[in-house]
Amino acid sequence: MNPPSARRAGLVVRTESRRRLRGLRDAGWRLALLALSGVLLLLPVGGMAVAAYFLGSGTFGSPATTLRAAGAAVVLLAGFVTVFVALRTVQAGDPDAPEAVLLAAPVRDVVLGLAAVETLVVTGPVVAVAVVVSAAFAVGAGSLPAVLFASLALAGGALAGASTGFALGLLVRLAIARSKLLARYKTVIGVALFLGYFAVVTGGVDLPWLADLVVLADRPPVAWFGSLATLGTLAAANAVGAAAGAVVLPAVAVAGYVASVGVAERLWFEPRVTPTESRTEPSGMAGGFADRLGVGSTGAAGPIPPASVTVARRSWLRARRAPISLLYVVYPLFVVGGPLSTAIRTGVVPGWLPAALPLYGAWATAAAFTLNPIGDEGAVLPVTLTSGVSGRAFVLGRCLAGAAVGVPLTAAVTAAAAVAASFAPVATLAVVVNALVLPVAAAGIGAAVGTALPQFEASRITRSRRAVVPSLLGFAAFSLALVLLSVPALVGGTPVVGEVLESLLGVDAAVVAVVGVGATMALALVGGGLGFRYAATRFDGYYPDGG
């Protein structure tokens, strides 16, 4: 293989970076989410810096322990970056506009450019953190070289991980491109990968092999990385081992790159298996949804108009075929991901969670299907508006699509959380009833906001996918409304508040919960009803071109 051109790869990096920055600027909500993630990361980074300081100062144990910990840190970082980059590459590992790029530059340059962008995107923040942690280690150790060598070792680990992750990601894409089975179930695989991504991001993964890693830290190559990171700081650091570490990490990065080029040649220039959708879809989510409503594919269920069932079925079908377009619904989970994964792993549920779950369930139920009912119709909107479907039937269909899944799921998860949190029976009943009512009401409120603030422009939801998502203003207005009307239930349903009121006013905590939930339900039902009515009227009088 000829050596790659650094100039061309650099051009790919510059252009890709420019595109991504512009895409990020265009999608304000992604930028806001990124900023929020940055803020949330400050805490663990601070913790790592403190740990590194004490490690450097020898507070944690002998120099041998520090050496082991440094080696293990490099390997852990490399592993984390490998998984992260691999997941991103599986999601979007092909060049955009391939006919332009692949005909203008050799594959080796394109691969190097794309891998470098991924490396920068993922390892940029990681290396920044590594420098902070290394500096804390150096301060603790009272040794300046520690900053240099610890940063070098961590950056090398990140680079090796990024390169390996890129190759692994392309390999998974190749497997999906070649295997009919994998291609057919790639949505399921995607969900599994997303959960993996979620677990990695929120740190909710058990790492039983950490103990093994510490044992391995005494042996090469992990010991080499430890020596590299602590060279000039610890007398126990082996110069030869450090040199070996300094060779191995770039070598792994180069090997990952070479493998990526080989896989890309097979992936980008060969046809892919594309499973076709069957013509009839009697089963699956759409059919299942209709079954839940007790109707056939064309029939009505009691008071539910057939048109509503049709709208709901179509909404389901679209969601099933492009689940990634609803990705934004799970983003709030990143905020509570830490406590949630801790609760799942340890079985200890914090008291506030059962009261908060109906709020998230209601938010997600509405955000998925009713927060942009008009804009989500896209190019089909003129057809829908002139089809004769009434606003009531249309909005009802959208609400049903969300509620059919949102209500039972929210209620079940809330009930389980309340039981696990040892809520009193009355308090459990209160939060479960709230979980049954709030998503339904939220659907109506969301429809009102969505029809008032329709969003037609597609936004970039991932690097390679664009989709029409509700407007940022719509998200904000709806979220605010939902939070405000949930305040009584959140306050009353939180045990600490109940206990305080019980001691102050002599009112039973369960009564406080019931009153809080009752107040929220009353507000929600009124708001949901009015919202539904407004949305239906708005749809009936809607003109795509204004007027």
Partner: protein
């Protein structure tokens, strides 16, 4: 002997058990405009993707601008390609896009810039060249894609529906540009469904049907060979199995076959309606891009 711009011998592409392109033999002279016709799913895009090195052939040989299509580095500097969906980045301006591709092609920035400016000017895109492509209409994207395909002054240009989405004035500009390219000895491989464009520009027309070349010749030759002297559309319909509009059935498909080979008439074998892009309701291997 002058090396042809495009030569294929038995070029074949299979997708699993399906044959998308079957034993294709082409010979396109330098500076010629070759009109490549065929119904949807005939294998046109698959053929173009093989000739542009974007798809590996399953069999046979193909040479573009004298280079083997399996040697991508040798072929790509000499070709330009505009697929049906112009490959553009919506976040960039047209100028940034063209500069990017010119940079990847190692072109001198100044010369590439001058040429891009001339092409922008020619296609009426100069005033909008610094606007983001995401704000462009379909026709403007098509023009930007054309500039991108021509900026490096290629020897052979592959164009898949280049006038798609263009208003009549812009379509006329494209046709004139193709004419100019041919005069400059640039070979144009043109795939389109707009038959009058082919009739006007093409020196030779090839009709692909079910992966096989079923007719080839000058436009007037093809129409003459069609009994009754119909139009190119009549000839096209005759060789691709549609006879309703082909002059009340007075066009004999065997009259417009490839050259004088009596065996190369319409292939109405068992695979005639089961191209790789056809929806059979089951899983099939398909190319990265459906034929248009």
């Amino acid at each position: 002997m002058v090396t042809p711009a495009i030569r294929t011998d038995g070029l074949t592409r299979r997708y699993g058990d399906e044959v998308a392109v079957s034993g294709l033999d082409l010979h396109v002279d330098r500076g010629a405009v070759y009109g490549f016709l065929g119904p949807n799913g005939a294998g046109k895009t698959t053929t173009i993707r093989m000739l542009t090195t974007l798809l590996r052939p399953s069999g046979g040989e193909a040479y573009v601008a004298g280079a083997d299509v399996t040697d991508r580095d040798a072929v790509t500097p000499n070709i330009g390609y505009l697929p049906e969906e112009p490959p553009l980045f919506e976040e960039l301006t047209a100028r940034e896009q063209v500069e990017y591709v010119a940079g990847l092609r190692d072109l001198d920035p100044e010369r590439a810039g001058d040429r891009a400016d001339r092409l922008f000017d020619r296609f009426g895109l100069a005033a909008d060249a610094d606007k983001r492509i995401g704000t462009y209409s379909k026709g403007m994207k098509q023009k930007a894609g054309l500039v991108q395909a021509l900026v490096h002054d290629p020897e052979v240009v592959f164009l898949d529906e280049p006038t798609s989405g263009l208003d009549p004035r812009a379509a006329r500009t494209v046709r004139e540009t193709l004419d100019d390219l041919a005069e400059d000895d640039v070979t144009v491989f043109l795939s389109t469904h707009i038959l009058p464009v082919v009739d006007e520009l093409a020196d030779t027309v090839g009709v692909l049907f079910d992966g096989s070349l079923v007719a080839e010749g000058a436009p007037e030759e093809l129409t003459q060979r069609a009994s009754g002297g119909g139009t190119l559309e009549d000839a096209f319909l005759a060789v691709t199995g549609g006879d309703d509009a082909a002059g009340s059935g007075d066009v004999d498909a065997t009259d417009v076959g490839v050259g004088s080979d009596p065996t190369s008439g319409v292939d109405s074998g068992p695979e005639a309606d089961s191209g790789p892009e056809g929806d059979s309701g089951s899983e099939v291997d398909s190319g990265p891009e459906a034929d248009s």
